[in-house]
Symmetry: C2
């Protein structure tokens, strides 16, 4: 139900911290903080609206060593750090001097989100959804997932004492399936791709079987999405309270990119960082590049595609936030680009060899796009640059063909004979 | 060369921080801070000796969010945080209320070292060895490894600009092999078990082919081992500067357990924590339990065994520090126990289901021993207890049989028919 200016939102004051309403991204219509995700009037996506109090760098720096240091900027209760939650975040911003030297960049850092509890950035968004689900009284957590999200939901549900039932496309990497299932919830594989899984979940949410469930990326999506803002907060804090000049972000649904932009703008508005221009670049794998294709052709409309890429965590053929991604990349002077699967693998190895970071395929996509845009002159080699790695190479082992150099008997002769000495 | 009291150790003052010498654990003979690991006189293991300056809780708390916050207690230069290193540590101490409730414990925490950069505690010890190797001018890093160490060395060598060549037993888990190889160094599989690999490395170090190499767990071992002390420092700091009453630690070589004890004692001696008794418990898998067997039979001597367990990261049949482990567990009123592979798997699932922590087999061993010792009355259910998870379930996927609940078509009918609604 839409709310008027005089209507109170009683639960919000405590449970959702500085959040005051849901607001339609398209028409601005406002709603109470309830489990809903689309505007009744224009069907636009809802997002969380805030009335921030004063927030200082010092308060944040004194806070917990995870995303809850930014609780004052998120739709969560002030005592969130005491609730059973996975406590993701404050992942390393790795100073990538060796990779920078190899690429001819002056200053490069890798935001390495493989350090999160289930080793992908999804722990951030799920942590937000768990708190909303707790407030709304849901007992089962669910999601449609390309793999990483299923693991994050399974783990977070276990930690917080929820049941879980997650939906994945059949044929995912073994690591992602085991990681989703080991926490004891239900894992249902759907014959089809991620977009089929997503459509199924939208049906289920309208059915009695699913109506009491908290689907983290459907009916809890406005809360869930806010977790991605913490990537922006952390990067700025870790750079010494400064927004980077250039940042390369992977695009699946496009939500993460839009929320990182939102996070940077909030920091600027709150006076926590200097108001300087920054450029946002989106990265896709060629085999699922509907946003990059729209960017190349100058269109505002995204043509859905059927994904065919090893970058399964980015394999969303009909990205809901695609149009907003185009807007942001245009507004900030960035771009959207894509790289082939071969370039993805090559970039995973480059990042591993130079910086000791073993990225998931999504990290190969962003690193590949970094190289490509540098070579094309679209990125400034003198500007402070950040590239995101959102997942862990251990979950996409099959993407790389790395193995032993040799197998030998335990003797010096065998070592010499194998040409290793 | 052994040093006299008047002989200076010129490099030590800067490069090794508060460390002043190597000291034989058996006879106390002191040596310069050089790449050596055994006493010339009694063949006892060498360890780092310090002259600590004043170290305060406040200084530590202001430090970097990784092990270098304890630089004043480690054999590293004061500016170590600015050198290219993996910066491991400050991993979560997870408050495990749901697991505690299920086991009937009042207060339980899991120290989850899967959050380290290559997802095992080995990043801590390798970070120390890298700094020593840098000081000694080695250009190649090497190790014998049951898997986790190989990945940690590969990554750290890449980050710091060293070459690497690591040795593993043939037949390791795929995740561990790929993770060792992806960083671009050499990975050599040895036909044999870990003890064969270790013997081979000891030969290689005396051969011209290996004499210029820094073997992190052989000629750099005294420095390397000190990294495990940071587990003790972090646990105490995360508990609010308090040593836990009871702690369960896995035993491979036994080094980690001895260094955690050393870390607790240092904190007490420096006045950083209250001097209260603590009890240390060692955990092994039944299929490789030479220390637990010696404990059970009351012997001081460890009988080597041929390992046969799924807990490959603990599969050291001839544990070098076994006798010291027995001493420490006896001195502190602890114990050493072992659990079967079936109990390991069951405990991995228990930890995942209750706390959302997906442990490696080594974490199943410690959690299994926790259950066993509680059931036997050897652990006090009212005492503050910490259990270590030293690695990541993603690297030992084959140990658990978790998979999808069902595979269905994307329709509500199929969902109902599968009995999922």
């Amino acid at each position: 139900m839409a709310i008027t200016a005089t209507e109170p939102a009683p639960t919000a004051a405590h449970a959702f911290g500085p959040a005051v309403a849901l607001s339609c991204r398209e028409c601005g219509e406002r709603y109470e903080l309830t489990p809903r995700f689309a505007c009744e009037f224009c069907f636009g996506p809802l997002e969380v609206a805030y009335e921030f109090g004063s927030v200082s760098r010092e308060e944040i720096e004194r806070g917990p060593k995870n995303i809850w240091r930014y609780a004052g900027l998120l739709p969560v209760p002030g005592d969130v750090q005491n609730l059973p939650n996975m406590n993701p975040g404050l992942t390393p911003l790795v100073r990538a001097d060796r990779l920078a030297a190899e690429l001819g960049l002056r200053s490069l850092s890798v935001k390495d989100d493989s350090a999160n509890p289930t080793h992908s950035f999804k722990d951030r968004v799920v942590a937000m959804a768990v708190e909303a689900a707790r407030t709304f009284g849901f007992h089962t957590l669910s999601c449609s997932s390309t793999g990483n999200l299923a693991g994050a939901v399974g783990a977070a549900a276990a930690r917080a004492g929820f049941k879980s039932c997650v939906f994945i496309p059949a044929g995912l990497e073994e690591g992602k399936v085991v990681m989703a299932a080991v926490y004891g919830g239900q894992v249902v594989a759907i014959d089809g791709n991620y977009d089929d899984v997503n459509r199924f979940c939208s049906e289920l949410i309208g059915d009695p079987a699913g109506e009491d469930w908290g689907f983290v990326n459907v009916n809890l999506r406005p809360y869930y999405g806010e977790g991605s803002k913490t990537l922006a907060y952390e990067i700025a804090e870790q750079l010494g309270w400064r927004v980077p000049d250039q940042i390369i972000i992977p695009i699946a649904s496009g939500s993460q990119l839009t929320k990182i932009d939102k996070g940077f703008r909030e920091l600027i508005e709150l006076g926590l960082v200097e108001d300087r221009p920054y450029r946002i670049f989106g990265a896709q794998a060629t085999g699922c590049s509907p946003v990059a294709k729209a960017w190349e052709s100058g269109h505002d409309v995204i043509q859905p595609v059927k994904p065919d890429t090893i970058a399964k965590s980015l394999a969303i053929g009909n990205p809901a936030d695609g149009p907003y991604v185009l807007d942001i990349c245009k507004r900030t002077g960035g771009a959207v680009a894509h790289v082939s699967d071969a370039e993805v693998v090559d970039s995973i190895k480059l990042l591993a060899r130079t910086e000791g970071v073993f990225a998931e395929t999504a990290g190969g996509v962003t690193t590949g796009v970094l190289r490509k845009l540098l070579a094309e002159g679209a990125l400034d080699p003198e500007a402070e640059t950040v590239v995101l790695n959102t997942g862990d190479g251990l979950k996409t082992l099959n993407a790389v063909d790395s193995g032993v150099t040799a197998t030998i008997r335990p003797s010096l002769d065998a070592f010499q004979d194998a040409g290793l000495a």
